[in-house]
Structure formats: structure tokens, C-alpha cells
């Protein structure tokens, strides 16, 4: 069962609508048991990093997430803030710890007159690796929808699968084993996004 994790932040409905459109059953969950018996996990997110970690902690979801992903090998897709939560730590707020599933830090974009923050709109996603399963059947430099002021810098280049330009080149997608992340919102990226979600569900 595809599970969308509800920790009080994030546009769950849009993700659910996308899964419905693609013909996949899904459920919205917020407890440890359901996390452990999912076949796929989606961690959406809109808002502040520290609030997200506090919410995840309060709902006792951090340990089950770690177990599901690292011990049980359940594929997980972090979207937007959800991808940032995979990191070790964020510069945002009180420098709180993330899930540390992919080592690295989350940093804020610098203010720039030409490249406005928050980065809001469709932008090109450029593959660093050309054969990642998440982007199967998707053309390089395809447009996806972004809305964020922070970006994730993984420690290991091997975990970076795509980058996007907005004043600087920042990481727009990550993958480490069964852990996937997209800085952009595939559920808001028309057919390009639906294709990516379909790929994630079908990953072996």
C-alpha cells in the first residue's frame, strides 16, 4: 500500500489526487504501524524545517521511518520540504537535526535581484546521472514546479541525481538506495510530474 505521511504539513490531497489519476490506491497515515506495513512511502512537505521535525517527533514517526527505510528497505520519496528533511541538518530556525537519511545540510538561497527568493515557478531539471529509475522515460532538462527558499546540499556527490539553475546550481533531486527526494513538486508539474510519480511507484 502506498502511504502518504501526514505530519500536519503539506498538500496531501494533491499527492493523493495524482496517485488516483495514475490508478494507484493510497492512504494517508500518521502512525508507526502503518509506516512499517507500507509498500511505498511519500513524505510531502510545505513549510518550516524545524516545525516539521517537531511534528514528526511528537507523532513518534522518526524511529519507524528510520526502521522502514533502513531496515525494511521500503522506498521513500521526499517532496520539497520532505526532501530537505532527509538531510542531517538545516540552517533554518534553531539548527535542528533532520532525519539524516542522506548526509548533508539544508541551506538558504542568497537574496538576488534577478533570481528571486522564494524560487517560485517552473524550472529545468538537469540530470547528473542519465539512467536513474526515477526519471525513466523523462527527457533531460524537463520542467518541474518549484517553490522554496532553502536547498539541500548532500555530502556525497553520488547521492545527487539532478540539479537546477537559479542564480546558483542547486540540487533538485537525490537518490541513495531506496531513498528518493525531489525539491520540486511532481504533483504540481503536469505530465512530467505524474510520470515521475508513476516511476517511483513502479521502482523495484
Amino acid at each position: 500500500m502506498v502511504s502518504i505521511i501526514d505530519y500536519g504539513m503539506g498538500n496531501l490531497k494533491s499527492v493523493r489526487n495524482a496517485l488516483n489519476y495514475l490508478g494507484y490506491e493510497s492512504r494517508i497515515i500518521d502512525n508507526p504501524v502503518d509506516i512499517l506495513n507500507s509498500s511505498r512511502l511519500i513524505l510531502p512537505g510545505v513549510g518550516a524545517f524545524d516545525k516539521a521535525m517537531i511534528n514528526l517527533n511528537n507523532k513518534n514517526l522518526i524511529e519507524p521511518l528510520n526502521k522502514a527505510v533502513l531496515s525494511l528497505g521500503i522506498p521513500i520519496l521526499g517532496i520539497c520540504l520532505g526532501m530537505q528533511l532527509l538531510a542531517s541538518q538545516s540552517e533554518e530556525g534553531d539548527k535542528i537535526d533532520g532525519l539524516a537519511l542522506i548526509p548533508g545540510k539544508v541551506k538558504k538561497f542568497k537574496q538576488d535581484k534577478k533570481y528571486k527568493i522564494p524560487l517560485m515557478g517552473f524550472n529545468e531539471v538537469n540530470f547528473i546521472k542519465n539512467d536513474n529509475k526515477l526519471f525513466e522515460g523523462i527527457e533531460n532538462h524537463s520542467d518541474y514546479y518549484f517553490v522554496h527558499s532553502y536547498h539541500f546540499e548532500p555530502e556525497n556527490n553520488a547521492d545527487i541525481i539532478a540539479k537546477t539553475f537559479h542564480g546558483i546550481e542547486f540540487v533538485s533531486s537525490v537518490n541513495k538506495d531506496n531513498i528518493f527526494g525531489t525539491q520540486f513538486h511532481p504533483e504540481k508539474s503536469q505530465s512530467n510530474g505524474l510520470k515521475l510519480i508513476n516511476n517511483f511507484i513502479r521502482i523495484k
Binding site: 490531497k13 489526487n17 489519476y21 528571486k116 522564494p118 539553475f165 503536469q190 505524474l194 508513476n198
Partner: protein
């Protein structure tokens, strides 16, 4: 660099979708009309963003009903959605966001309920707030209006824009009431003037009748987006033709692969 946006605005009044001229409304059809004649699902494949405005001519708009209908409308809509019209409380804001909107549109509240606007920004973030500013431009004199154009606000064009920025808006949806529904094209001079007053992204609205006009506005460096609410001129292929025209003339817009390729 983010791409420029072609936005479609749906004007909604209780159960019906409307056409507007100088802010006077004419009923066009309901949701099933929209889906039948307008093939809504294919339209959304050729726009970057959808705006749904509740233009009910009532002091207390039925936000609950609006939210219910919004939720049905955007079910197969996989692009950012901004919605509003008559938002007067945090409850209204929550209802609309829970119905599937990504951003809230506020207009009258910018002048009458500044604390609400600040609270919305604090709770949901600036990127969630689109400040809608309606203006009339007659004899080179610009006036600002609220309440669906019914009430003239005592502040200048410049003051209204700065007000929106100071309240924390993420972008400005700027509509010329004078040009609205006329098909005469956008008031480019006024929109351009707005870009010199603020750095916030500006969505130009009011007056679009054909895709040449779309191009004329979107080619201006400083203008980020354009919106049309013209249900007739932009049926079926017209919006994707507009995108093609803009592309052929050198402005890069977002592109999406054929929906048929999506499922394996």
C-alpha cells in the same frame, strides 16, 4: 531561472462560471458545462497555473460552498492553484487551502483586514499569498478599487503596491478594470510601472483577447506572468496555440510531455 507563466483565471459565482467585462459579470455555464465544452482537463495541460476567483456579488461570500466546488474542479489539475475572493478569516483560508489551493488570493483584506493578511503570511508563508490589486486607468489617472470593483480605496497605485509588499505578499495579481473583458490588450504601461515600484513577481491581468497580445506582454523582461479570464477566446486548442506562438517568438515557457506517455 524560472520560466514565465501563462495563467488562466476562472471566475466563479456560486455554481457558475462567468465572463467579465469591466467587472460586470455574465453567466456562461456551470461545472458540467465547463467540463463538456471546455474540456477542462486538457486546458490545464497548456497553462502554468490556475486561478479560481469567487466573484459572488455578496458581502458574505459562501466560502464553504466555493471550497467544495474548488475541490472537485482541481481533482485532475496537476499545476499550482491559487484561489480566493471574499477571504475574511483564517477559517476561510484553511477551507480554501484544504480544498486543494496552493495559494490564497486576497484583495479587500489588504486594505480592511491587515492583521488577517499578516497572520496568513505568518502561518502559511509569503509564497502562499497573492495580493490582488484592481485598478482603473482613466485619463492617465489611476484609482484603486476593492470589493469586486465596487469601492474606491483612498490610496494611490504606488501606495497600494507597497502596501501589498509590506504585508508580506509573495506576488501581485494586477488587474485593469478598464481593460477587463474588452479584448483590447493589457495596460502594459501600468503593469510596467508596477514593476518599477516592487521587485515582487507581477501577474498582468485584464484585456487579453488574442495570443499576439499575450506575447506583447510576456516579452517584457520585468513581467513574470500573464492571466486571461476569457472563457470564449481560449477554448480547446487556443491556449496551446498561444504557447506555441510565444515559443516561436523566442520566449521559453514550461513544456510538458504528452500525457499519453505518462502511464506505462
Amino acid at each position: 531561472m524560472v520560466k514565465k507563466r501563462l495563467i488562466f483565471t476562472l471566475l466563479y459565482d456560486l455554481d457558475n462560471f462567468m465572463l467579465s467585462r469591466n467587472f460586470r459579470l455574465q453567466k456562461v455555464g456551470d461545472l458540467s458545462w465547463l467540463k463538456e465544452y471546455y474540456d477542462f482537463n486538457s486546458i490545464t495541460n497548456s497553462i502554468d497555473e490556475l486561478v479560481v476567483l469567487n466573484v459572488e456579488r455578496n458581502k458574505d461570500k459562501n466560502i464553504l460552498k466555493f471550497s467544495e466546488n474548488l475541490s472537485v474542479l482541481v481533482e485532475n489539475c496537476f499545476i499550482p492553484v491559487a484561489a480566493g475572493g471574499g477571504i475574511k478569516s483564517m477559517d476561510d483560508a484553511y477551507n480554501i487551502l484544504n480544498a486543494g489551493a496552493d495559494k490564497l488570493i486576497l484583495n479587500t483584506a489588504l486594505y480592511r483586514q491587515k492583521n488577517l493578511v499578516r497572520e496568513i503570511v505568518k502561518t502559511f508563508g509569503s509564497q502562499c499569498l497573492v495580493a490582488s490589486i484592481d485598478f482603473k486607468n482613466e485619463n492617465k489617472e489611476k484609482k484603486i478599487f476593492s470589493e469586486n470593483g465596487a469601492f474606491e480605496e483612498p490610496l494611490s497605485f504606488k501606495e497600494a503596491i507597497i502596501n501589498a509588499e509590506e504585508l508580506g505578499a509573495g506576488e501581485i495579481y494586477l488587474t485593469s478594470m478598464t481593460k477587463d473583458g474588452t479584448g483590447q490588450g493589457i495596460d502594459v504601461d501600468s503593469v510596467f510601472e508596477a514593476t518599477t515600484i516592487t521587485n515582487l513577481p507581477i501577474i498582468a491581468s485584464g484585456g487579453i483577447g488574442n495570443f499576439k497580445q499575450i506575447f506583447e506582454v510576456i516579452r517584457v523582461n520585468e513581467i513574470d506572468a500573464i492571466s486571461t479570464a476569457n472563457l470564449f477566446n481560449f477554448m480547446s486548442d487556443a491556449l496551446s496555440d498561444a504557447r506555441l506562438f510565444v515559443e516561436e517568438n523566442g520566449i521559453s515557457l514550461a513544456k510538458w510531455q504528452d500525457v499519453k506517455l505518462v502511464k506505462n
